[in-house]
């Protein structure tokens, strides 16, 4: 735990039980190490540590009787705040009608599309899934299999293109009064200008209320580059962190939140279609800090 880590670093703390400037320094170094081991981006970590340092000194950690607990409390509170704050409500606007899923290859977009449709259905809505990944082999099949499992319609046309699928999918949705309409797109590299431009065109045609960047929780330092590029191009509205059912600490969440300011809404916690949970900043803070 973080407390033990810091205590270990300050073994030779002054017997008085009070922290010196040098002790705080050592404690902060341990916190920095813990964040980097949890895959938080280096520059995000640096900025965070200097904020904590100001706060710790401001709260007069140096003079307190139980300084280590205070230091850890400051870290935990600051991290929870950065991730969204204790009062954060990740739920979608009840009137959400159109959701667009984007992200790198293999991050979990198709599976998450199925999970979202499943959730909306269980809330009494009648979602429509649009299969707009026409490049990966059997991508359309995959979404259709998922749609069948949860009795949700899937709009597909393998001979079409993503932009026409967005338009025609919406028309189909209007005809059948589907709500919401969720479009699944092909995985792509954030540095692939041509494919990122395609997403901009899909966005113009689909006019989504929500654009969710789906990111793998196992991601390392690159999370910043990915989130920044997708956000610059598309002005994303939220982030989904998948594969949280593993042992990765998920520091990518902190990195992405720090550089885009966009909310993390949901986490994927398994391969099954009910393995989707809302995001809780305080739980994530303790997971990252380890």
């Amino acid at each position: 735990k973080m407390q033990d880590r810091i205590l270990g670093a300050l073994k030779n703390m002054a017997k008085s039980g009070r922290l010196s400037e040098a002790d705080v320094e050592k404690g902060l170094r341990e916190i920095r190490l813990a964040l980097l081991e949890a895959d938080v981006n280096l520059s995000v970590t640096k900025k965070f540590i200097s904020r904590v340092q100001q706060k710790a000194v401001g709260q007069d950690v140096l003079g307190q009787l139980n300084p280590i607990d205070t230091l850890v409390m400051v870290v935990y509170e600051e991290l929870t705040e950065l991730l969204g704050g204790k009062e954060y409500d990740p739920k979608f606007d009840p009137g959400v009608k159109r959701i667009m899923m984007v992200g790198l290859q293999g991050s979990g977009k198709t599976t998450t599309s199925g999970k979202l449709a499943n959730r909306f259905k269980s809330e009494g809505k009648k979602p429509l899934l649009i299969a707009a990944d026409l490049s990966r082999p059997a991508a359309v099949d995959q979404l259709q299999v998922l749609g069948k499992q949860i009795h949700v319609d899937v709009f597909a046309d393998p001979k079409s293109n993503p932009v026409d699928l967005a338009k025609n999918g919406l028309k189909q949705g209007d005809k059948d009064s589907n709500n919401p309409v969720i479009i699944d797109t092909a995985g792509r590299l954030a540095i692939d200008e041509e494919l990122m431009d395609e997403l901009v065109k899909v966005k113009e045609a689909f006019k989504p209320d929500e654009i969710l960047l789906v990111v793998d929780a196992l991601t390392g330092q690159d999370a910043v580059e990915t989130a920044q590029r997708f956000d610059e191009k598309l002005n994303i509205t939220g982030i989904v962190l998948t594969k949280m059912d593993g042992d990765a600490r998920g520091g990518a969440a902190m990195s992405m939140r720090a550089v885009t300011g966009k909310p993390i809404r949901l986490t994927g916690t398994g391969e099954k279609l009910d393995a989707l949970e809302y995001f809780f900043p305080d739980r994530m803070a303790s997971r990252i800090l380890g």
């Binding site: 190490l33 980097l36 081991e37 949890a38 895959d39 981006n41 280096l42 790198l104 290859q105 293999g106 991050s107 979990g108 490049s135 990966r136 082999p137 059997a138 991508a139 099949d141 995959q142 979404l143 259709q144 299999v145 998922l146 499992q149 590299l189 954030a190 540095i191 793998d216 196992l218 991601t219 390392g220 330092q221 690159d222 999370a223 580059e225 990915t226 594969k243 059912d245 593993g246 042992d247 990765a248 600490r249 520091g251 990518a252 391969e271």
Partner: protein, 274 residues
């Protein structure tokens, strides 16, 4: 300009930002400093070459890979976490080996994920190789057993086994993987078996846990790193190879069937330390 602590900090940061990890980056900087001292080098411009040498040394200090053996059945098994690129690498390998004149057959042992069998079948059809499939939900070991029999009966040179993605912390799925490994060893007595962990280049410090636990479940003989055509540098490879001494065999640099390269340690290291 003379090298100083600030410059070493910059190198350290470049390593950490490439996902090399703090602990290994620390020890690498110590090794680089020591080499610089030993060789009497004192300028900043000397550091990159020394750094590349130290890093490349890690990637070449590995066990020998299992060679493809002529006139016998060779088996290549792809394992790894969800979405790392196993199915695509299976297809890329099949394509490459077919082009080298070998007779190749694929086994679609991912009977769990939606349309996983269809995905590999589309690839098999495109590249013109046989494929053995099973029912959705079938025992992967049964599909693999069928594939080994078909490979022997049709006198194939190479059998490539695609498995379902799984997180290394899922104990029962790792047991399933061990069972598939045992099935291959029993059914293909004397075959040359290569077991490759497919890592995604964007992976962070979790790569070590992946490598250790997949290695426990199925004794890895090689590593492939996928998606190096993106912005991620794949630096976790150094810590994994340093710890397990497993050779890196291939890298994936795209979604097309030809986007597979042999691993070149110098090229890879040059991508981190220009």
């Amino acid at each position: 300009q003379l090298v100083d602590d600030g410059y070493y900090d910059d190198v350290m940061e470049a390593l950490v930002l490439s996902d090399v990890g703090m602990e290994l980056s620390d020890s690498l900087i110590e090794r680089i400093r020591a080499e610089m001292r030993d060789r009497g080098l004192a300028y900043r411009r000397d550091v990159p070459a020394v750094a590349r040498e130290v890093l490349t040394g890690i990637l070449t200090d590995v066990r020998e890979p299992v060679p493809l053996v002529p006139d016998r059945l060779n088996v290549i098994m792809l394992v790894g976490v969800n979405g790392s690129g196993k199915t695509t690498i299976s297809a890329k390998l099949a394509h490459r080996l077919k082009q080298e004149g070998l007779k190749v057959i694929l086994a679609a042992a991912d009977t769990f994920r939606a349309a996983a069998t269809e995905q590999l079948s589309v690839w098999a059809h495109r590249i013109g190789v046989d494929i053995v499939t099973g029912q959705q939900g079938a025992d992967p070991a049964a599909v693999v057993f069928d594939a080994t029999q078909a490979a022997a009966a049709r006198n194939m040179d190479v059998l490539i086994v695609d498995t379902a993605g799984r997180l290394q912390t899922k104990h029962n799925l790792m047991q399933e993987l061990s069972k598939v490994t045992r099935t291959i060893d029993k059914a293909c007595e004397g075959a040359a078996v290569t077991r490759i962990l497919v890592l995604d280049a964007t992976v962070g410090q979790n790569a070590m846990s992946q490598a250790e636990l997949f290695n426990e479940a199925c004794e890895l003989t090689g590593i492939a790193m996928n998606k190096l055509d993106g912005s991620a540098k794949g630096g976790t490879l150094f810590a994994v190879v340093d710890r397990l001494k497993i050779p890196v065999l291939y890298i994936g640099v795209g979604e097309q069937v030809g986007d597979l390269l042999d691993f070149d340690p110098l090229e890879f290291t040059g991508g981190l330390i220009p």
